[in-house]
């Protein structure tokens, strides 16, 4: 997996960056999902602890 998208330069002798790699898209979605899950679990545990005390 690469961080960037590349294309051949107009001279054909090198690669130039043309943008961010779209392979990263699932990782950004996963980061959002991970935050949501972790937050929901922490809040649920904290809420249960609050009810118990």
């Amino acid at each position: 997996m690469e961080l960037f998208r590349y294309a051949a330069s107009i001279y054909g002798d090198s690669r130039v960056v043309i943008g961010a790699s779209w392979d990263l898209l699932p990782w950004f979605v996963a980061a959002g999902a991970a935050f949501i899950i972790v937050h929901a679990v922490v809040k649920a545990i904290a809420g249960r602890r609050g009810h118990a005390s």
């Binding site: 043309i18 961010a20 990263l24 950004f28 959002g32 935050f35 929901a40």
Partner: protein
């Protein structure tokens, strides 16, 4: 030390409408929902073709981008002139209460965190992150308009060399993907039952007196008593 003893700036006095407290004026709610629609259209037109849903996305994308640019410009002018922009900047009391909240969440002792003013520290940090990303997306997006023909101008792809265009496109791409993460988190908080009082206020504009007392420090977000 209570919040009222800190040097934190107190947000402007806000209007109370009978038993309800005005939290978001109509113009601010309109801005929020128009920005939300713009961002969702921009995300859809940017990423649906990438995941395989092919359609003519470019015209809708750049025109919506122009709309978002105008909305953000209006918001910046309004925030700087008619609103207290400092209310959205984390202050000492926010940081202190944030540390206390973390300590309480992990079961540590110490004093209980105080209530926030109009906005919690996480809302302020979220706003800061969105502001950075949206400004990066707008700046890079406006430059990218130079590479397409529109009814208003002809493309000029030679404005920058290939390497510089690569930087511009990379900034636009990374910031746009990060916006998906932030939009997911924003919608999650809006749907959480313990945050419904905030979500409702973005529809109705007001919160109840009870919600104001439960969630906000009156010394940090004062309500003008007009009743």
């Amino acid at each position: 030390m209570s919040a009222s003893e800190t040097s934190a700036p107190v947000t402007p006095v806000v209007a109370e409408t009978g038993e309800r407290v005005l939290r978001h004026k109509l113009v601010d709610r309109l801005y929020h929902w128009l920005m939300a629609a713009s961002v969702l259209i921009l995300i859809g037109t940017a990423f649906l073709p990438i995941v395989g849903w092919k359609f003519e996305w470019l015209s809708l994308h750049w025109m919506t981008g122009i709309v978002l640019t105008l909305l953000v410009l209006i918001h910046i002018v309004r925030a700087l002139i008619w609103q207290d922009w400092r209310a959205m900047i984390p202050d000492g009391a926010d940081i202190r209460d944030g540390v206390r909240n973390i300590r309480a969440a992990v079961g540590g002792g110490g004093p209980a965190p105080g209530k926030p003013g109009k906005y919690k520290i996480l809302q302020k940090l979220y706003h800061l992150a969105v502001a950075i990303l949206v400004l990066a997306i707008i700046a890079s997006g406006l430059l990218m308009l130079l590479k397409i023909d529109t009814p208003f101008w002809k493309r000029n792809p030679y404005w920058f060399d290939a390497d510089t265009w690569g930087v511009v496109y990379s900034v636009h791409g990374f910031a746009s993907m990060a916006m998906i993460t932030l939009v997911m988190i924003h919608i999650y908080f809006a749907l959480r039952p313990d945050e419904w009082w905030l979500t409702r206020s973005m529809f109705r504009g007001t919160i109840s007196r009870k919600e104001y007392g439960e969630h906000c420090d009156a010394s940090r977000w004062r309500v003008e008593d007009r009743a």
